[in-house]
């Protein structure tokens, strides 16, 4: 049994990273040329890691299932990226970003990793600007900031509502430079099918070329998994259609522990579900909560009238509205963290105040912001007595400049104009804080196998704050992994190229081919999506925003039964040696069907509420925090790291006790 060693360096928290960097082994530049590194996934973490490792001199092989690294789902991140620059002079600092992130994560993250993240955050912005990322600027030419949920400072840098796109294109451009000079060999439309271990170390992967169906062997001295999160276990999520857990799950099955699978972020501001045909959910950036006010009707009869189409939201006066976040959390108001905002929306909708036909939607209203900005603009233009029409026009222009692309997206999907009528929103699965367990070096429990970005578990605890995912992805890829991996690779300078004709490669390839042959030859009757949708429904109903022991136990049994049915009844049309999307999907859903059960098991074992994980049995019953989530630090201040033992239900729990030396464990209050 492997023992969990987080390998956190000794010393005061503010000096750990610097002193660590000063003491690790390095690989000399000539030797780097003899070392190969595989990077799976080309989002912010994988793309930035691949580019940086290649710049350092390693031979990088990068893999993406998409047709270009630029299409990784980091591209869809909208709102921004945090950095402790304190450009606004509002008291921000490395410590404050560290503190906010640990608190926002409900004290379930590893302090040393989070501090390092906060420490390198400022560098990310410098680096991105040097790369030509066009961040928003003010009229003086300096960088602009906005605020995000769960914090009291303005530290979020942004590029309109497309920050993820611009940062990813920055990493992609850095990759392109290295691809052009042959230091990165890029494999687009390739899926990682398994990891290959030689003498217990990760030494390569088996891939499938998604165009030709060819099964290929790739060797390297280290393997980096940067394949993103597993939100698609819910079928409906804000993830891309192809986002999957397979790379992470394959390494899990070969010995990498999977940590905190139940920590999943349900994002409060998404476009509500419209019907059974729905294939994905669309996020409306959290940045909208800077200016939008969230409300439902104060009276049940008004909510009913709205659902039946007899009343419009604009018919209700201020007194007839319940701005429930402002009411419940006066200090943070509409900018409470995501888990809190999501649960509050569910609470109102469950109580009958939901506003669309399904009863599962609340309003996000910009009318006040339009008025406020309009008046301000009128003054700037020297008009001290503006008409209501002028205020409205000027205000809408400001809102358009800030959120234009999001408003357009909403309009196209819902067919309503959010400048004129409030948006309707509802929580949806968005981000997974859980993932592969890694130590301070970002190495998994498999030697030589690293995991970065959303795919690992390390920095966000039980809830991720807005604009922190981009920060973590780039921190891991640009500034952390390139150092820590060198320490490991310094022992490999005499190893020489890893041959791909070893029996370990042979064996891994065979099991991959066996599974593929099973799928294309199985005489099933139901499509892959059929099973994926059923899995999603179990997850959402019983392992979603509110969980209890009974539901979780049922979910485990139901997922197991569904998995057994899948292996009998799944139907995969087409051949193995062609472009075959159904075949690719079948492999991914097979892994989700195992992960889902472990997810429910993890949620069942964690008998406390923390961050995105809300156990109905663990809520405050009295006092000012009544109804809020109740954490149990005495019994649950640990990371759950699961070891694979065949069936997900048999997984063995290992605990990494979390120590808080620099932040006091407190009830998280946003009141």
């Amino acid at each position: 049994m492997a023992v969990l060693d987080s390998k956190v360096p000794k010393g005061p928290i503010a000096e750990k990273w610097t002193s660590y960097k000063n003491h690790i082994d390095l690989v000399n530049p000539a030797n780097k040329r003899n070392i190969d590194v595989i990077v799976v996934g080309t989002g912010l973490a994988g793309g930035s890691a691949a580019a940086t490792l290649a710049e350092l001199g390693y031979n990088v092989k990068a893999f993406a299932y998409q047709d270009s690294p630029r299409r990784a789902h980091s591209i869809a991140a909208q709102g921004g990226i945090n950095a402790a620059k304190n450009y606004q002079g509002d008291g921000d600092s490395t410590y404050r970003l560290f503190y906010d992130t640990v608190k926002g994560g409900d004290y379930r993250a590893r302090e040393a990793n989070v501090y390092r993240l906060a420490e390198v955050s400022a560098n990310i912005i410098d680096q991105c600007v040097a790369q030509g990322v066009p961040f928003a600027r003010d009229y003086g030419g300096l960088l602009d900031n906005r605020s995000f949920g769960g914090v009291l400072v303005s530290r979020t840098f942004y590029a309109k509502g497309q920050t993820g796109q611009q940062l990813l294109l920055g990493a992609y451009s850095a990759m392109n430079r290295q691809i052009g000079r042959g230091k990165i060999k890029m494999y687009n439309r390739h899926e990682m099918m398994d990891v290959v271990l030689v003498d217990g170390k990760a030494r390569g992967i088996i891939t499938r070329n998604l165009v030709t169906g060819e099964i290929e062997r790739h060797s390297a001295h280290a393997v980096v998994i940067a394949s993103g999160g597993y939100g698609n276990v819910f079928f409906l999520s804000t993830n891309a259609m192809g986002s999957n857990v397979s790379a992470s799950w394959k390494i899990h099955k070969k010995g990498a522990f999977f940590a905190n699978p139940c920590y999943t972020q349900i994002h409060p501001t998404c476009i509500p579900v419209s019907g059974d045909h729905q294939s994905k959910l669309t996020l409306m950036s959290e940045s909208l909560r800077n200016d939008g006010r969230i409300w439902v009707p104060a009276k049940l009869e008004d909510a009913k009238a709205i659902r039946e189409g007899k009343k419009k939201p604009t018919d209700l006066s201020e007194a007839e509205r319940d701005y429930y976040l402002e009411r419940r959390y006066p200090a943070f108001g509409n900018l409470v963290p995501r888990d809190v905002a999501s649960r509050a929306a569910k609470e109102r909708c469950d109580a009958g105040f939901g506003v669309n036909a399904t009863g599962e939607a609340v309003y996000l209203d910009f009318a006040d912001a339009i008025k406020r900005y309009g008046r301000e603009q009128a003054l700037i233009h020297g008009d001290h007595n503006p008409t209501a029409e002028k205020i409205d026009k000027l205000g809408k222009e400001v809102v358009k400049a800030k959120y234009g692309n999001l408003f357009q997206m909403y309009d196209k999907i819902v067919d309503e104009n959010p400048y004129e009528t409030p948006m309707m929103i509802y929580p949806a699965v968005h981000y997974t804080m859980g993932g592969t367990w890694v130590d301070y070096n970002l190495m998994t429990t498999i030697p030589g196998c690293y995991c970065i970005g959303e795919a690992n578990f390390s920095d966000h605890g039980a809830n991720r704050l807005g604009a922190s995912a981009l920060m973590q992805g780039l921190a891991d890829g640009y500034f952390v992994l390139p150092y820590t991996i060198g320490d490991y690779l310094s022992k490999d300078i005499r190893t020489g190229k890893i041959p791909t004709d070893l029996p370990e490669f042979e064996e891994a390839e065979k099991s991959v081919k066996d599974q593929i042959n099973f799928f294309v030859n199985n005489n099933g009757t139901k499509s892959v999506d059929h099973f994926h949708k059923r899995l999603g429904k179990i997850m959402w109903d019983k392992v979603g925003m509110a969980r209890n022991a009974k539901g979780l136990t049922e979910a485990m049994a139901e997922i197991k039964a569904l998995r057994e049915e899948f292996w009998k009844e799944v139907k995969v049309p087409g051949a193995a040696d062609t472009y075959n999307e159904e075949l690719a999907k079948a492999g991914r859903v097979a892994d989700f069907l195992e992960l889902g059960e472990l997810f429910a098991k993890d949620a069942l074992v964690r008998e406390e509420s923390c961050g995105g994980h809300f156990r109905e049995e663990s809520a405050e019953t009295e006092g000012p925090q009544e109804g809020e989530a109740k954490r149990d630090d005495v019994n649950f201040a640990f990371v759950s790291a699961w070891e694979y033992k065949g069936e997900p239900a048999d997984a063995v729990l290992h605990k990494e006790q979390l120590e808080f030396n620099d932040i006091e464990l407190k009830t998280r209050s946003y009141k």
């Binding site: 990784a72 789902h73 591209i75 410098d126 300096l142 159904e582």
Partner: protein, 246 residues
């Protein structure tokens, strides 16, 4: 809604390919176009056929993976959106819809509606970057003020999603809107000046080598571009190109 779909089916790059008719019922106006194709594929699978292959991923209009020529227009009849953001309310009950891949010599068909756009990546390899290593030792981000106007204009160019609608739309299969957008983003920023001449020369040379045509100022690309990339970017690229060559 009930619809008749005429869809391009092609087994692989070597197959000749043909239009095939499909009927689909119970289409909801709230479905996205790709969700309609999901429903069609489920129907085809249940009938024992092979589903229609099409590229898609984020389904929120930003990854640039989805494509499709719908009734003769890249990303369909609506403006300022990608195919994944197109909703069936733009069509009427009883409509016949023609669905074809993006067609260009430089975008060979892989299967059905899926095309190979790796030519775009190869153009970027030739200069779609600023040569700065991730040392973490670059200057402070605010030590280089950039006028809001230039930053905003660079951002407008940088919003290109690389979907290839401009190429598919252009009668010359030109990639100049795509290349112009990248050249412009860097040309508008001080960080991009150092390598400006090499960048535009190399990217244009690769664009020509890939077999893309030239621009004849029709402007169809700008109309069909889901991100509203302006023709100004082509003019700016031409200016940069001339500047680099005198």
């Amino acid at each position: 809604m009930k619809l008749t779909l005429k869809i391009w089916r092609q087994k692989d790059a070597n197959d000749k390919g043909q239009m095939v008719d499909y009927n689909i019922n119970d289409v909801s106006p709230d479905m996205s176009f790709l969700e309609m194709l999901d429903v069609l594929n489920e129907q085809i699978i249940n009938e024992g056929g092979e589903p229609v292959a099409f590229d898609h991923d984020c389904r929120e209009g930003i990854c640039g993976m989805c494509s499709l020529f719908i009734n003769g227009e890249a990303h369909g009849p609506d403006r300022g959106i990608t195919t994944c953001q197109l909703h069936m309310r733009k069509f009427k009950d009883g409509d016949t819809i023609y669905i074809e891949p993006f067609r260009a010599k430089a975008f060979p068909v892989i299967k059905d509606l899926v095309v190979d756009r790796s030519a775009f990546d190869r153009i970027q390899h030739q200069g779609g970057f600023i040569s700065v290593n991730t040392s973490g030792n670059t200057q402070d981000a605010n030590s280089l003020p950039i006028s809001k106007h230039a930053a905003d204009e660079a951002m407008d160019a940088a919003t290109c999603i690389g979907c290839g609608a401009c190429v598919a739309t252009c009668k010359n299969s030109s990639a100049m809107l795509f290349v112009g957008a990248k050249v412009s983003q860097y040309a508008l920023l001080p960080q991009g000046q150092v390598e400006a001449a090499d960048r535009v020369r190399n990217m244009v040379a690769q664009m020509d080598a890939e077999g893309f045509g030239n621009c004849t100022n029709t402007g169809a690309c700008e109309v069909e571009c889901p991100k509203g990339i302006s023709l100004d970017n082509i003019a700016r690229m031409n200016r940069e190109f001339f500047k680099a060559n005198i």
